[in-house]
Every structure is written in structure tokens, then in C-alpha cells.
Symmetry: C2
Subunit: 216 residues, 2 copies
């Protein structure tokens, strides 16, 4: 049975992982007959109230991520790439806030060392990596110099920043995905289209997951 | 376009709405071409850390529920049954903790007045109601004297308590659902099977949502 590692960054699109993106990923991986394990870093952050957008109390990315996978979460430092066949990075603003500082710095962002190491290892071991929504910027930052192709949909500003890393951007509809077969990178825009319908987001992610699992 | 009201009780199965159940519902309603609006009560509660199961800080069901629907949440008191064609109640322990006190009292539970009123109104207006996981106990408490048929899977203790309300319990597999056509009640066990696979939970919920939307 193929094993997929999934990295979360909290619970909720304003300060963590996007909930529909994560759950769609879990459903699709499970439907493909593959196994998954979710991981998250231990980072303290100021929560954003999702009903008001106001800043709230201090929370932890690890404890919040556990809400999306029924508590079956492991610390990011326990993710050993040799134990998995593929890696998937869901989106949500947490990916650009906690896994790197792209939200503040764009192409000049620094990626969390454990995330950078994980992406490098899966890529060097010729294992597929899937990323959705804003998370492809992590792949651009780490693997951009290899001229990988990714999509984040059609957002101009993010596309320009991505291309500064050396990565190539390809436009993509919400219910579709882009495959860079040479580098085994699969990306889908998901909620980069803010007004997207849940079933179209789920369709794009289902395509991404199938491609990743089949390539694994 | 048919309009479906969905009532949430937080975010995460230990102290709120079960995340896979809610997101599966949103995806299925959207795929059916129906519209949805999520609602939640304003209840302060002690959060449960989903990575440790330890009690944590005070949170609010309304603000936490907003994490599951990209902030598009409305207060429960703004749910006017005449504006909707059907009602869906996802599960998670929040349904038995915040929407009633079934978790502590079983069949002797008291249902939150706004929830009782909403269930009564949809039923009186001959509009379908869907409920999953532990949430069918809310229907049993409010409509049990009408001898409605519901499922919560095959858990013996919960079944016995449900039957004390007058409701009839029918066993059901995780990927299936039970329809009481006379009362327009549709229920699916979802994560009452604790070890269920996400795609089987999603399949049962997809069947429930199709039935509810078609009956609406």
C-alpha cells in the first residue's frame, strides 16, 4: 500500500490549512486505496477569528492541525522521507505564514528548514510532490532553480513572484491541475480562486491526488 | 436553486463538528447544484486539544464553526426555516455537547431551544432533514414521539437510548444511509464508526445529501 505524507499548518484558511483542501485530500487518498499520515510543525501563532477576521489568542499549528485528521497527527521532525512514497502540501494562508514567510516577503521568503529539507529529500528520491492553493510557492522557493512548472491559478502578483524563483507558472482552472512530469510535481489552484465552489475545488484536488498516487 | 441550511457546533470532532462530515456535506450540496448557508449558536466552551485530548482554553462555537466554511457563517437565531428547503445537521461530539446535553444525559437530554424550534419547523413545513453521526439523537429527542426512523450505525448503547425517545433505530453501514420517507428524515452513521475511512464516510454523506436535496 502506497504511503502519502501530508503536511498541515493549522486549521482554517485565514491562519492555517484550508479545511476543504485538506479533507478533499484525505478523501481522495483514501479512495485511491493509499495510506496517509499527517504531520505539522510546532509553531506558536496569533489565531485569526474566522467569523470577524480579528486577531485572537495564541495557538499552536500542531494542536490545531490535529482537528483536521481526528488527532492522528505527528510532529514534522518525525517525517522521514524514506518511509513515504509521496508528499502532499495543502494550502491555506498557514502555508505562507508558518511554513515560510511568503505572505510578508514573496519571492524573498525563507522556508522553514524542516519543510525545505523534506521537499528536497522527496525530490532527490524521485518521489512525487503535490501542492495546492498557495503551497506551490514552497516548491518554487526550494526547487525553482530546477525550472519546475507549477500553478497557483491565474493570480498575477503571485505568478510574478513565483517566476522570480526560476519556476515556470502555468495558468489553470479551479477544477484542474498541472503536472510537471520531469520533476514529478503536481499542483492545483483550489481556493486561490477565493469564490470557488467546494465541489470544483474537490475535483481539482482529486485529479492532483490521483496523479500523485499513480506516479508514486 | 434549492437552499440548504447547515448547523455547525464548532470545528473538530472532540469538541465541535466533525471536519470530514462537514466538508463532505458542503462538497455534496455544491455538486448537487444547491446553495447552502452555515449557522452556529454562540456558546462558550472549554476546548479539547485534539493532539493530546487535554482540556484547553475557552472558545466559542460560532467563531470555531466559521473555520469550516471560510467565514461564511450566520448566528443560529438568524436561521428562518421559511427561507430554506432543507436542513442538515453534521455530527461530531459538539452536537451532543453544545446542541443538546446527550453526551451527559442520553435520552434524558435537553435540546437547545433554538435547535428544537428549528427541527420542529422544518418538520412541520414538510421539509427534509438530514443528520449524521451522533446528530440523529437531536431528531430522536425532538421528533421521537412521531416514531421516526433513524440510524447511528450499530452502537448498542446509543441505539438503546434512542429507542427510549420513541424513535426507531435501523442499523446501517458507514457508506450507506437510512431514509424515513414518511417523515422526510435521512440519516447516515459517518464517524460513529470511529475507525471509518474518509472516502466511505464521504460516500454515505453524499447519498444522504442527494436524498435530502432531491426530496426538497
Amino acid at each position: 500500500m502506497k504511503k502519502i505524507a501530508i503536511i498541515l499548518s493549522g486549521c482554517g484558511y485565514k491562519d492555517g490549512s484550508e479545511t476543504t483542501e485538506v479533507i478533499s485530500t484525505l478523501i481522495s487518498v483514501s479512495r485511491m486505496g493509499a495510506e496517509y499520515q499527517c504531520f505539522a510543525p510546532q509553531i506558536e501563532f496569533t489565531a485569526t477569528d474566522h467569523s470577524t477576521s480579528e486577531p485572537g489568542e495564541a495557538r499552536n499549528t500542531f494542536a490545531e492541525s490535529a482537528r483536521l485528521c481526528r488527532g492522528q497527527i505527528q510532529p514534522l521532525e518525525d517525517l522521514h522521507s524514506e518511509e513515504f512514497d509521496a508528499l502532499i502540501l495543502p494550502g491555506g494562508f498557514g502555508a505562507a505564514l508558518h511554513l515560510c514567510d511568503w505572505a510578508a516577503k514573496g519571492a524573498r521568503a525563507t522556508v522553514l528548514p524542516a519543510i525545505e529539507k523534506t521537499i528536497q529529500e522527496f525530490n532527490q528520491q524521485d518521489k512525487p510532490i503535490g501542492a495546492m492553493c498557495i503551497a506551490p510557492v514552497l516548491l518554487a522557493k526550494v526547487l525553482g532553480s530546477k525550472e519546475i512548472t507549477v500553478t497557483i491559478g491565474n493570480d498575477k502578483e503571485t505568478t510574478q513572484e513565483i517566476e522570480k524563483t526560476g519556476a515556470i507558472h502555468e495558468e489553470c482552472k479551479v477544477d484542474d491541475f498541472v503536472t510537471d512530469r520531469a520533476h514529478k510535481i503536481v499542483t492545483s489552484p483550489a481556493y486561490m480562486y477565493d469564490e470557488a465552489l467546494p465541489h470544483l475545488v474537490a475535483k481539482g484536488i482529486d485529479g492532483l491526488v490521483k496523479e500523485v498516487v499513480e506516479m508514486a
